[in-house]
């Protein structure tokens, strides 16, 4: 365990931002804190950075407790959503600022800046000011500035959220590449599940100031622990136990024991097989074209369903069809929204 947060609690007035949260990051690991706004993910990142004080709990790196250490003495790197380059400094001065603070000689700073500019593929921009750069360029510089000092931990606070879709995808790839090649333990806060799935070695899914589920992206997607995770990580069809029992009782075989309200069935849209069937129980209500696939909204005995298909134009609205769901594609999750679970 390289970095760990134990039992962190933080309240702002009556609002509990973090409620007894513990997380850990391994050496070289890329961890995403994922959750809706207000779930406490940014507060947790700021506590790790030393920018917000905890009410209780500890932050430690390699066993050394950091709780009383101000941000400037932690030796972390941070990148914010808002770029936050120093507007009065050139690109080179921005990147070199951390080294300057550490008293590095000028020639070494210059060499390091050149190296980082090459690394982020912007070798010609050294003497520009931030206001002369695009958002994507600024964020690359901010990234370079953060890693210039070889930080012990890299903290990314929604670094891609302010960027255009195309730039976002490019930079996402670059962050991934940089992090892998430098091996810096990285914690990124995001509310974008797609981003988290693409980047993370481990996703920590948060809601209402607590960790709901932590694990590899595949785990969270294919085996969500709760209704919240299932809902937040992509699209899912969530169906109550009694409906399943009535309509598709064979899906019950994977269900853990527990009261009806305690677990709910989660079926991903790509895991429902459709067959045209004039006598079938389901009807196509609407079809959305999503480029590489189509999404069908169905009315079925299971209730309204979302299904994704790669098939050619097999269906049109009003068509009747039958559907098949493999039992191992039906995941039972705790219903944490009704309050009966967990």
């Amino acid at each position: 365990m390289y970095l760990s947060v134990e039992n962190a609690t933080k309240t702002f007035g009556k609002f509990t931002a973090l409620d007894d949260v513990s997380i850990s990051i391994e050496k070289g690991e890329f961890v995403c804190l994922l959750g809706p706004s207000g779930c406490g993910k940014t507060t947790l990142l700021r506590i790790i950075a030393g920018l917000t004080e905890t009410d209780a709990g500890t932050v430690s790196v390699e066993g050394e407790t950091l709780s009383n250490l101000p941000a400037r003495k932690r030796g972390f790197g941070i990148v914010f959503q808002s770029y936050s380059l120093f507007p009065n400094m050139t690109v080179a001065e921005n990147i070199g600022y951390g080294l300057k603070i550490r008293g590095a000689p000028n020639d070494r700073i210059a060499a390091r800046v050149r190296e980082l500019l090459d690394l982020i593929k912007m070798p010609t921009l050294a003497d520009k000011f931030p206001a002369q750069l695009s958002g994507g360029q600024q964020q690359r510089i901010a990234l370079a500035r953060a890693i210039a000092v070889d930080p012990r931990v890299l903290l990314l606070d929604e670094p891609l959220s302010a960027l255009d879709a195309k730039v976002r995808a490019d930079l996402r790839g670059e962050i991934r590449h940089l992090q892998r090649s430098l091996g810096i333990p990285t914690l990124m806060v995001t509310h974008d599940q797609e981003e988290a799935l693409a980047l993370a070695d481990k996703i920590i899914c948060m809601n209402h100031g607590t960790v709901v589920q932590a694990g590899p992206p595949e785990d969270l997607y294919h085996r969500p622990a709760t209704r919240f995770v299932a809902d937040f990580m992509g699209t899912s069809n969530l169906i109550e136990t009694d409906v399943i029992r009535r309509v598709q009782p064979k899906l019950l075989q994977t269900r853990p024991n527990g009261a009806d309200a305690e677990y709910i069935a989660c079926i991903r849209p790509e895991h429902i097989d459709l067959t045209p069937d004039a006598e079938g129980p389901a009807t196509v209500r609407d079809i959305s074209f999503l480029g590489n696939l189509k999404r069908l909204d169905l009315d079925s005995p299971l209730g309204p369903l979302q299904v994704e298909t790669h098939g050619v134009d097999m269906f049109s609205p009003g068509d009747r069809l039958s559907l098949a769901i493999a039992p191992d594609h039906c995941v039972w999750v705790r219903d944490d929204l009704t309050g009966a679970g967990a």
Binding site: R72, G75, S84, F86, P87, N88
Partner: protein, 565 residues
């Protein structure tokens, strides 16, 4: 990729050595030094002036001074005059100010740059220049009487009203303009599409949105008027107001305690007006982040009359200043109108020395003052939350105190041998200090505006890179708020150059400042020399103004951003 070969460059880590937190100590200094200044040079003198107002002739505490002042008809006449003058000036100045501001921001015509330039002229000269100009223009020997033979009595209510109106006009225009420029063009487009006529749009959109700006401007103008001394001293004639009443008590009758009482009585309406104004300012909405700036298109029915009115008002402002300039070159006004430079040879004792002294004092007040408000603003970012609010209130308090009252408080405090502060009495340093604290609020609020625009992430990014508060302040904050600091520096400089009310009590035979010299020259009947000296002061101030614009332009150019300003 060679990262791995670089040694770890972080020596400053280590929880054990972090017992003494340099940042906390620095934050304490940042708050403590300006706070000490405010206590020593604002709160303490104000307490003294209050104590003196309740100190009776035999040295005991009591309200007999108040009884005496409140029982005198002179005081009530001055109070009535001050209120009537304040009200009339407010009405006139805000009306004219609204016309100018509306013309500038909601109408389309040429020459707006010129209007902007002319309208700030009264700020660049001591207030009594307005009065001086009016005397040259409308007085018995004035241009109007000479040419048209229309004799009018300019000394008294009407002269003072015009002088005060012109003097307060720049502030009215700026405040109302700031409210008008906030209006979102989209709401007007929506109204237009819904079929609202321009007149309806004005009534239903512009006026309601500008009402707090107008209210705000009204209170500011009222305060400026009732606290101004220069115009009242030069052109007020027999029309005594509270500011001249204080002067009469203190300088005329050497009755400091009675002066203190009148000062407190002047303080009451000022504080009330200031409190309401601050509220009005808070009520004024903020511009939505995505608001579109309104760009008016030419509408002859609206724009031609507005352009005409604006032109007339600007002519009035300009002519009053211009005639001072002209008169300073006239050999013997109004009998020999040939031109000469002889009035620039100041014959009053000291000559131009007070101008240079004032310039140095103003530079020092500007530099020291800018530094102190910057320290305070930095300190407030790190100060405990419960301290921030009271400190902000304290920093914003000096604006509620009329310059006359502050000056009186200073003479009562520093001309007393009771404390070592006596050493400051009669020094240029004390005049610099009074100028700074007189304009502390405006300076502080301007810097705070800059600080509010400073994204917290910048500071946090610097902290995460290892920068302590000192580095953050010098490398990150100061450059970011540099435009504000420069504005504050020149604001303090220019105000210090021209202010009269606060310093009139603090000058001595050996140490005079420019505005006081102008008053003395005028008192001595050397009106043309007073005009010449005024022009010299204005030259320094205008040079400073251009200096400020040049520095700001350079800053904006250097970082290649439009974010400066």
């Amino acid at each position: 990729m060679t990262q791995a070969t670089l040694p770890r460059p972080i020596p400053s880590r280590g929880a054990k050595s972090a017992r003494f937190d340099g940042d906390k100590a620095l934050a304490l200094i940042c708050v403590g030094v300006p706070l000490l200044g405010l206590v020593l040079f604002f709160l303490y003198p104000m307490a003294i002036v209050f104590l003196r107002s309740i100190t009776t002739a035999d040295g005991a505490y009591g309200l007999s001074n108040y009884a005496e002042v409140l029982g005198s008809s002179g005081f009530w006449r001055a109070t009535r005059h001050s209120m009537v003058m304040g009200g009339a000036t407010t009405l006139l100045s805000v009306t004219l100010g609204f016309i100018i501001a509306h013309g500038l921001y909601r109408c389309a015509f040429r020459g707006k740059r010129l209007i902007r330039a002319v309208i700030i002229l009264p700020l660049l000269a001591p207030s009594l220049v307005q009065a001086l100009g009016l005397i040259f223009l409308l007085g018995r020997n004035g241009l109007v009487n000479q040419i048209f033979g229309i004799e009018m009595e300019i000394y008294g209510f009407w002269g003072l009203l015009i002088a005060n109106t012109l003097y307060a006009l720049p502030q009215a225009v700026m405040i109302i303009g700031a409210a008008l420029v906030l209006l979102d063009a989209r709401t007007y487009e929506a109204a237009e599409v819904m079929g609202a006529s321009p007149l309806l749009q004005f009534r239903d959109l512009t006026l309601p949105a500008a009402r707090f700006g107008i209210l705000n401007a009204a209170f500011v103008v009222f305060i400026i008027t009732i606290t101004d001394f220069g115009n009242a001293a030069v052109i007020g004639g027999d029309y005594s107001v509270l500011a001249t009443e204080i002067y009469a008590q203190v300088i005329g009758q050497r009755n400091f305690n009675m002066g203190a009482v009148v000062g407190i009585m002047l303080l009451l309406p000022t504080v009330a007006a200031y409190a309401i104004e601050r509220r009005a300012m808070r009520l004024q909405g903020r511009q939505p982040a995505n608001a579109q700036r309104f760009v008016p298109s030419f509408a002859p029915l609206r724009d031609l009359p507005m352009a005409g009115l604006s032109l007339l008002i600007c002519l009035a402002v300009l002519s009053v200043i211009a005639i001072v300039f002209y008169a300073s070159f006239v050999r013997l006004w109004p009998y020999n109108m040939s031109l000469t430079l002889k009035h620039y040879n100041i014959t009053l004792a000291g000559g131009y020395s007070s101008l240079w002294v004032t310039t140095w004092i103003s530079l020092a007040a500007a530099a020291g003052g800018t530094f102190l408000v910057f320290l305070l603003a930095v300190g407030l970012r790190r100060a405990p939350a419960i301290l921030v609010q009271p400190l902000q209130v304290l920093a914003a308090m000096p604006a509620a105190v009329p310059g006359m009252v502050l000056g009186l408080a200073y003479i009562l405090t520093f001309n007393s041998t009771a404390t070592p502060l006596y050493l400051l009495y009669g020094t240029a340093a004390l005049i610099g200090i009074v100028n700074f604290y007189h304009y502390h609020t405006q300076a502080f609020l301007t810097v705070m505006t800059g600080f509010r625009q400073l994204p917290e992430a910048l500071e946090e990014a610097a902290s995460s890179l290892g920068a302590g508060l000192g580095r953050v302040a010098v490398n990150i904050i100061a450059p970011f708020v540099a435009p504000m600091l420069i504005s504050v520096f020149f604001f303090l400089f220019m105000r210090s150059m021209v202010t009269l009310s606060a310093v009139v009590f603090l000058t001595t035979p050996d140490l005079s400042v420019a505005a006081v010299t102008i008053m003395r020259l005028d008192d001595a009947g050397l009106t043309s020399q007073a005009a010449a000296f005024s022009c010299a002061v204005m030259a320094v101030v205008v040079a400073a103004l251009f200096g400020m614009k040049a520095v700001l332009a350079y800053l904006g150019h250097r970082t290649g951003s439009g974010s400066v300003g």
